[in-house]
Subunit: 188 residues, 6 copies
């Protein structure tokens, strides 16, 4: 394994534009690392920027879904798709945000064993169905979410977080993107 | 079916910000319609903007893949996921860009019957594998793309267009997003 | 692609027997073409005759299922099996008989988005189950058809039309049978 | 279980037309029974006739495939589709025609364990692929048959016998058609 | 096919230890054969002993499941896994214990056609789910067994018999283990 | 969650027989816990003994497969079956025996990303095939193992370890068996 974050020979722009360098510096300060997914996109700053804008809006923006709930979806989707990068990075995020390392393990291994409430269970069932057989989703599936208290805006968010990881799982696996080693031991 | 572009009650911001309105006006002028996917996102202008930025970079930005080839991937992925919205919109795009209505039908129905060259066949095989079982992609799969002339940057683009439609197929199906009726008769 | 209707080198009997020639002439007059599936069988007139007898009985014979409903089943089954020939020919038939091009597209792409009534929905769900996992059909599945008004004779017809296209989809795909080009633009 | 050959209440025409009665009498004489599949169709003599014409052409007509080979395909297809009727009736036929009861059992249970020659193995692999994922059949699959000595006409026959049982398996399972009890003990 | 019970060259310990020889002699006396699964393990007497201890406890030991019911599970699991060895040996056991050859055939071919009572149906549905998608088993599945009268101890037994054949099916198929020919004609 | 190791109400024999108590004391001393799988079986000492005898022979007995390799198979099989108990317990074992926490994570998440040698890769491919579609294993699959240096005895061991976890994954999931919490933080 080389230093490259993926199996593709796509070196980062060098030097990075000032704004990008600053963003990476902030990552280094706050997370102790620059996540490899950012380095992987940094061969083309426009691609990096569109990716981070979408990611930040979905995962960090305003939503009635808590950040932990969005990370739970991320891990459940990534478990179905068996994405090493995303399971590693977002498994760590679940451990961090929940303070419950076992929850992270459960979502990685088999989310059905996790002790989640009825609302979260409905959310994860929907995420699973959208991931595995999206063409069969019908109004009854959306209504099941409304029945446990989700608004139409929340359904949009669940659908989009689910869909986003169906995208990034595939980019990561198709390019053999590798997570930073630091994630593995975090928040155990 | 109401006027809503999806099954979710998420009305567009009203009035639209000036930039957005201008963008929609351009769509109306150039395409004869505002695609429903844009209206669907327009309940939140940040979400609309991050979506269109990513879409435009991938599908209209600089790439060694022709626009037609990117649309071919879009249709093949959407056929696997049985996404009515994307098959309708991007099937029309294939018909338009290729000037070959039958090619559009073939990609919608069963891409293997399409008379594509060895390079495009390798591209579509990769897109199919990434869509159906991304966790099994290995170096031999990337090498198969290099062997027919794709660069590592091209592989990035194939992976990302493939992944993008795995995202948007799922958003469309999860929200019951409906394509503009105009697409059906276009470029037949 | 040669003039052959399939990838197999099986030329039509030449000259055709008088009755066959007459039948083909009628097709040409009424449909504007001789469907390639007929030409494909015409290397052996007995095979042609047994095929057309079965087809005509099922699709054109007396039944409480309308001709459109039988064509709807044809397209839904062919969509599951991704049969280019049958989707093309019977997609056109749905467009023609319904006067609703969008309905044809929906059934080709993802029948669940089509706005069908409860009776037709039950019929298509049964056709889907018989196509995908026939060994799990049980009395409750037949009862679900009776509950929306189908008689036992109607159930026979639904089962047999479904089964017929599971046969002809496979013949078409196994031999690379190609539909007449005329279908693509019809009834759009 | 009533006397009906299926779960549908579709009694035979009574009395049967003379030709049909004669055909059933011949069955009784030669086979010791009237196969239930014939009784099941006999509520409508046209349907019975089109079915038997197709069946007899495919399974008993002239072909470079031996009758045993056609029955082998019948059993392998029916095993994939888990069709009780066809496995019972055609399993008995394999035992009879081969004089090898174990061969019948192997084809019912897992055809890969059967000690067939390279030609028959290619034939059964093709039948399996056409049954399970017909849309992926390509020229290389047909060529593999030619490579072990099959002509294009033989490929037509393999495809059509395979496809026929994909039809009749589904009719049998969808209607809960039951085989005559006599088959079970035959040719053991 | 050589005399070896599997495709692996692992000859039996020679001579067999006295206890083992005695056990094999009893098999020969009572069953008319030494089952090949025992010969296959006899290259290592410890392996033979741990296997037979587990088998005998599960299939012959004390349980509220009748021996026939345990054999029914064995055949249903083996049918899903298409294991020639286990279908042959345990299909014969079902015929013997039930005195109903047709029941054995039904369980081999498609257990859903078998005329079992509600209790046995629940048991076989559970066995099927545990075999095909064990990670989705939830408390409702166990409760469905309790609802038809099974105790928690019975559920343990159903789960373990099901699991055992998921093990031995795989050993048999992975090593090409062949059943004794005598089974085929037994209890027809 | 109660103190019970599974969802079944099957309390341990109380008091435990002396030998069993001694065995559990040794576990407590050497592992710092009595694994819940042992407690789960301890409602019936015969079942406990047959299970541990088989387990110990396969996983701790003499074999040309290292203990780490056997644990690698355990984790790969358990990942396919999504068994929370076995992934937790045997993931910890891989971390311990390899001294490589990342290897344990990789095998849990997607074994194909793990940097294993050609011999181990062949072993894991075989384990995957035996787990997912054992009925398709053929001589070429066994030969592929011989080609990288495995003996027939080694193939027996690979097949049996693979098969064993296909059994115990199903018992664990069917009974909702929960791993001891201590595993999660071990050897990180």
């Amino acid at each position: 394994m080389s230093d490259q974050p993926t199996a593709l020979n796509l070196p980062m722009v060098d030097p990075l534009p000032e704004t990008t360098q600053k963003y990476f510096d902030i990552c280094q300060d706050k997370l102790g690392m620059v996540p490899n997914v950012l380095k992987a996109h940094a061969f083309d700053i426009d691609k990096l920027n569109t990716f981070t804008a979408l990611y930040n809006d979905l995962m960090l923006g305003k939503s009635a879904l808590s950040k932990l709930e969005r990370e739970m979806i991320a891990v459940v989707v990534s478990s179905i798709n068996k994405c090493f990068y995303c399971l590693t990075a977002h498994g760590a995020a679940v451990r961090q945000l929940s303070g419950n390392p076992k929850l992270g393990e459960m979502l990685v291994m088999n989310w059905r064993v996790a002790d989640v409430d009825a609302r979260q269970r409905a959310m994860l069932l929907f995420a699973e169905k959208v991931t595995k057989e999206s063409h069969t989703v019908e109004e009854t599936d959306r209504q099941a979410l409304r029945d446990v208290g989700f608004s139409d805006r929340d359904i949009w968010d669940i659908a989009n977080v689910t869909a986003f990881f169906n995208m990034s799982n595939r980019v990561a696996s198709a390019t053999d993107m590798r997570p930073n080693d630091d994630y593995h031991a975090q928040f155990r």
